[in-house]
């Protein structure tokens, strides 16, 4: 009988600190599976963000670096330039990649760095207690938008993937979601492609993953998945942008 399911080698067998129903655990596992399947574990160097996934290096079983909040793509740029033979990826949340680190994100993309970016969009700041993210939806209540995000006061949800897809240096951008098994399979395909692109020297590849945060959305895990399906993907439509 063929063994069709096992623990990925690239994922340590330890409990995570993530809340019940959080998407980070799934996303970590998908990355670990892809790294195993592409047989690149011994070449990978990951950059962990500042945010809920700050200790991603406690879960992945390959070389990792921290980065100051928002600076993952500056750190990744240098590592890849110094060691082009390695496979370098960043794992960043919406605050890290699209607020404090917007400048590093845009410029690494525009330079066309041959990097893989996994961008976890959960429309909220989780680690710090549920404040507004650049991707928070209009009318979404957060700790810093207690009456809901107002376009007049806080502007609109930032569509960084759409913005980046305009840049000639960017080779691949896809938005996926973790709200159902089918979408999880699509997410894995996209992430695999983003890594394969780097292996093939294609260039800057980013996968934006819509990910549930039941704790700070004030929903049950199941309701959170429904909220992505019914509300979030209207603002952030799924599919390949480039």
């Amino acid at each position: 009988m063929d063994k069709i399911y096992s623990h990925p080698k690239s994922l340590k067998e330890v409990p995570t600190h993530y809340c019940p129903g959080c998407g980070h655990g799934l996303a970590h596992r998908i990355i670990a599976e892809v790294v195993d399947e592409l047989d690149i574990r011994e070449k990978v160097i990951a950059i962990a963000p500042v945010g809920c996934a700050v200790i991603a290096y406690d879960y992945w079983d390959f070389d990792c670096s921290e980065a100051a909040h928002g600076r993952a793509l500056a750190v990744a740029t240098a590592i890849k330039r110094v060691r082009p033979q390695n496979i370098v990826f960043t794992y960043q949340g919406d605050g890290d990649l699209a607020a404090i680190g917007t400048n590093e994100t845009i410029h690494a993309a525009n330079r066309g760095e041959n990097l893989t970016v996994i961008f976890i969009n959960n429309a909220i700041y989780g680690m710090t207690g549920g404040q507004m993210a650049p991707t928070t939806l209009l009318n979404q209540k957060t700790a810093t938008t207690p009456s809901g995000r107002s376009s007049q006061l806080q502007g609109y949800p930032l569509k960084i993937s759409e913005m980046l897809s305009l840049l000639p240096g960017v080779k691949y951008i896809e938005r996926t979601s973790l709200h159902s098994p089918l979408e999880i399979i699509k997410t894995k395909k996209a992430i695999k492609r983003a890594f394969q692109n780097q292996v093939d020297g294609v260039g800057f590849s980013l996968v934006e993953v819509l990910s549930p945060c039941p704790t700070y959305w004030g929903l049950s895990p199941n309701q959170a998945l429904n909220w992505i399906r019914e509300t979030m993907i209207k603002e952030f439509p799924l599919g390949r942008m480039k």
Binding site: K43, V44, V54, C64, S65, V75, R81, V82
Partner: protein, 353 residues
């Protein structure tokens, strides 16, 4: 590399720092343009790639220092350079580099401040350089060259100390030193490779357990242990790395204390005063941190500190002298430079009594 004429080449301090770094095996430079250090980034743009290294013009000072973090984490000898306002922007990154115990060299060609200030020379970033500069209890090793030759020569020490101690090293110069051209002895331009092993570097985990580069320690007590380890390292650096130059100090009634370009002007004042029979000497700190307290072991009658600031190194001299002798001060900032004549006049005033 510039054309050789006899055994010397004419270079600016900024270019000498860049060439010195390349000769010391620096293989990664990221920077952002800012006056008065632009010759440095320009030199790196011209020569880094042909020597097999990586040059990146970063989108900001912040990006540049974080690129240095990444390059160093990947095992390269990495460096950035800037001038005062840009170095303020780098402080967060320098704190992370110190916290993650990564080697790195950061050059500050100081200009007038505070704020945007101006592009004239200054020494007002001494506190920022020697007290840490960013958040947390950390220290950078700080080297202060005073000539174009020393700009070049100190770069090897800077990279070696950075690797040896896994600690950021600052080169603290000023706009005058960066822009000034002087002959540089070319026989010392030898390329030397890296001699320090970096088993902690991120290279991919083939044949070993995964490495993690980080400054984040959440478990109770862990961060305190890391801090105590850093403090032990800083003690060793203080014991071993003090550097300074004495000039006619032995019989001096008044000892001038100045670093960098300011020490050149102070030296001229010493020579003029000696010609008039006045017993005057000069202590020139080369390491600003660790401050060369050894230079003050045998106390002289009087000290006169001269800075292009309103009294920053002054505090370290006062600490070294510990109230036992009088410490006078001349300082100008915002582009003002204490003149030789002003130093001579001050020495004449305090010499007797």
């Amino acid at each position: 590399m510039p054309q050789k004429h006899s055994n010397k080449i004419l270079m600016s301090g900024n270019e000498a720092i860049a060439e010195g770094a390349l000769c010391a095996g620096c293989t990664f430079y990221a920077g952002y343009p800012i006056t008065p250090q632009n010759e440095l980034i320009g030199y790196m743009a011209l020569h880094m790639q042909e020597r097999g290294g990586v040059f990146i013009q970063a989108e900001s000072e912040t990006a540049a220092i974080n690129m240095v973090f990444g390059a160093s984490a990947a095992g390269a000898r990495a460096m950035t350079s800037s001038s005062s306002p840009g170095v303020s922007l780098k402080q967060e990154g320098i704190s992370y580099i110190a916290g993650a115990e990564l080697p790195a060299v950061i050059v500050n060609i100081m200009r007038g401040g505070p704020g945007l200030g101006n592009i004239w020379p200054g020494q007002s970033d001494y506190f920022q350089a020697t007290r840490g500069g960013g958040h947390g209890d950390y220290r950078c090793i700080v080297l202060a060259p005073a000539s174009v030759q020393e700009c070049f020569d100190l770069m090897r020490s800077a990279f070696d100390m950075a690797d040896k101690y896994r600690n950021p090293v600052l080169i603290l110069g000023d706009g005058m030193l960066g822009q000034m051209m002087e002959p540089l002895k070319v026989q010392s331009l030898k390329v030397k490779g890296q001699k320090f092993k970096k088993p902690w570097a991120l290279t991919g985990c083939a044949g070993r357990k995964p490495n993690v580069v980080k400054s984040f320690f959440m478990n109770e007590g862990d961060l305190e242990k890391i801090n105590l380890k850093l403090q032990e390292k800083y003690k060793v650096i203080q014991q071993k790395e003090e550097r300074w130059q004495d000039y006619l100090v032995k019989d001096a009634q008044v000892v001038l204390v100045a670093y960098g370009s300011m020490a050149r002007i102070a030296k001229s004042a010493v020579e003029a005063l000696r010609a008039k029979g006045k017993k005057v000497g000069l202590i020139r700190p080369i390491t600003l941190w660790p401050f060369p307290r050894g230079a003050f072991k045998k106390l002289r009658n009087k000290y006169l500190v001269i800075e292009m600031s309103y009294g920053q190194m002054l505090e370290d001299v006062q600490l070294a002298v510990n109230g036992k002798k009088s410490v006078e001060f001349i300082g100008r900032a915002g582009g003002g430079v204490p003149a030789e004549e002003a130093i001579i006049a001050k020495v004449n005033k305090i010499y007797h009594g």
